[in-house]
C-alpha cells in the first residue's frame, strides 16, 4: 500500500447547487465527505491540487488524508464529476474509512513483460480488456496496483484473473474467471489471414465446380472442360463484394426521390 497523501480542504456551510456553484465561481471545487454512519461534511478543495492527484495512477484506490482546519479525515476518493468538455473537476466525493472497513475498490492493472512477449514481438497488439479490477478488501490493505505478467503470451493467448496472484486478503468482485488482457493479431496479419482464407475458399469452390463440370463433360464429351473451370473463379469473387459495398455506401433510398 502506498503512503497516504494529504489534501487540504476548507469547510463550506451550505449544501445544494447554489452553494456548489458559488464555490466553483470562487475558483474551488465543491466536495463532500461521507460514510462511517456520521453526518456528511461539506468541503471545497483547490482544483490544481486535485488535478495533480487525479492524474496519478490508481487515484480511486489510494487513501487520502483530507485536512480541514487541522482535522484530518482518512478517506477514499469515490467519485469525481468532470466537466464534459474541459474535463476539469466539478465535484468530488470522499468516503470516510475506518480501520476495519471492507470496501470495493477499483485497482489499476499494470502489464509487465510486453517486450518479452513473443506475440507482441511478432507485431501482436496487447488488447487490454480491464484497465482496473474491482477488489473487495479492507481499507488498510488496498493494493496500489495489480501486476499482470504478459511475457509469455503469443498471438491469440489471453490472461485471466485466476492466473494472477492477488494480494492476501483481497478478492475480486466478479466470481467467474474473467479475461484481463489478450494478444490480438495485428491488422496486417489479420488481412493476410483473411486473404488466405478467401483464396482457399475460392480454390475450393473452383475445384468443386471443376469436378461438377467434369461430371457433365463425362456425359457430353468435348463441350464443357474448357469453359467451366475458367469462368467460375474469376466471376464469383470479383462481382459480389463490389456490388454489396456500392449498395451500403449510398444513403437509404437514394434515387427514389
Amino acid at each position: 500500500m502506498a503512503d497516504i497523501v494529504t489534501i487540504r480542504a476548507e469547510a463550506r456551510d451550505r449544501a445544494g447547487k447554489g452553494a456548489a456553484r458559488a464555490a466553483r465561481r470562487s475558483g474551488r471545487v465543491p466536495g463532500v465527505i461521507y460514510g462511517e454512519k456520521l453526518p456528511p461534511v461539506l468541503i471545497t478543495v483547490e482544483p490544481r491540487e486535485l488535478q495533480q492527484l487525479l492524474h496519478r495512477k490508481g487515484f480511486f484506490a489510494r487513501l487520502l488524508n483530507v485536512e480541514i482546519a487541522g482535522t484530518a479525515y482518512r478517506a477514499l476518493p469515490r467519485d469525481v464529476q468532470l466537466n464534459p468538455v474541459t474535463d476539469k473537476p466539478e465535484h468530488i466525493d470522499f468516503m470516510r474509512v475506518g480501520d476495519k472497513t471492507r470496501i470495493t475498490v477499483a485497482v489499476p492493472v499494470i502489464f509487465e513483460g510486453q517486450d518479452r512477449s513473443p506475440g507482441i514481438r511478432r507485431g501482436g497488439i496487447l488488447n487490454i480488456v480491464r484497465h482496473e479490477i474491482d477488489l473487495v478488501c479492507s481499507a488498510d490493505n488496498i493494493p496500489d496496483r495489480i501486476v499482470v505478467e504478459v511475457g509469455e503470451l503469443d498471438i491469440g493467448d489471453s490472461v485471466h484473473i485466476n492466473k494472477v496472484a492477488l494480494p492476501a486478503g483481497t478478492k475480486p468482485t466478479i466470481a467467474r474467471d474473467f479475461t484481463i488482457a489478450s494478444v490480438a493479431a495485428p491488422t496486417a496479419v489479420r488481412e493476410e489471414q483473411a486473404a488466405a482464407a478467401a483464396a482457399a475458399a475460392a480454390a475450393a469452390t473452383a475445384a468443386a465446380e471443376a469436378e461438377a463440370a467434369g461430371a457433365v463433360a463425362g456425359a457430353a464429351p468435348g463441350a464443357a472442360p474448357g469453359a467451366a473451370p475458367g469462368a467460375a473463379p474469376g466471376a464469383a469473387p470479383g462481382g459480389a463484394p463490389g456490388a454489396a459495398a456500392g449498395a451500403a455506401k449510398e444513403p437509404a433510398g437514394k434515387g427514389k426521390g
Binding site: 496519478r56 464534459p84 474535463d87 484497465h131 491488422t187 455506401k249 437509404a252 433510398g253 437514394k254
Partner: protein
C-alpha cells in the same frame, strides 16, 4: 465509409445542435482519445479520412476505436432547381456531435505518437478538438 444498414425514415430534418454531450464523454476503451470541443456535423467521409490518418500514422500497430456513427441522412437539392417541389434526395450521412463527445480512441501506441496521429485526424474534422488521456495516465 460508415452508414446505417437500414433506416426507419429516408429523410431527416436539419435540426440544430444545442448543449453539451451527456454521454460518450469519457474514455472507455483506449488510453488516449480525441474529444470535440464545439458542436458540428461530421460526415462519414470525414470520419473515414480521420480514421485513415490515424491508422497510417500509427503504422497499423495499436488499436483505434470510432465512437461516433453517422446516422443522420442529409438531403441536397439538384443544381439550378427552383425552391419548392419537395425535399431533395439524401446524399450523405452525418453524425451530430456535441462538445465533449469522444470521437476516436487509441491504444497500444506511445503518447507522443497518439498526439501526432490525433493532430492529423483533427485536421480532417469540421470541429475543434482536444486530445484527452485516461485518468491515471500521464497527460500528453
Amino acid at each position: 465509409m460508415l452508414s446505417p444498414k437500414r433506416t426507419k425514415y429516408r429523410k431527416a430534418h436539419k435540426g440544430r445542435i444545442h448543449g453539451e454531450a451527456k454521454g460518450g464523454t469519457a474514455l472507455n476503451f483506449g488510453n488516449y482519445g480525441l474529444k470535440a470541443t464545439e458542436p458540428g456535423r461530421v460526415t462519414a467521409r470525414q470520419i473515414e479520412a480521420a480514421r485513415r490518418a490515424i491508422t497510417r500514422h500509427i503504422k497499423r500497430v495499436g488499436r483505434v476505436w470510432i465512437r461516433i456513427f453517422p446516422d443522420v441522412p442529409v438531403s441536397v437539392k439538384p443544381a439550378e432547381v427552383r425552391m419548392g417541389s419537395g425535399k431533395g434526395t439524401p446524399e450523405f450521412w452525418v453524425c451530430r456531435v456535441k462538445p465533449g463527445r469522444i470521437m476516436f480512441e487509441l491504444e497500444g501506441v506511445p503518447g507522443p505518437t497518439a498526439r501526432e496521429a490525433f493532430d492529423l485526424a483533427s485536421a480532417k474534422l469540421p470541429v475543434s478538438t482536444r486530445v484527452v488521456t485516461r485518468l491515471g495516465e500521464e497527460a500528453i
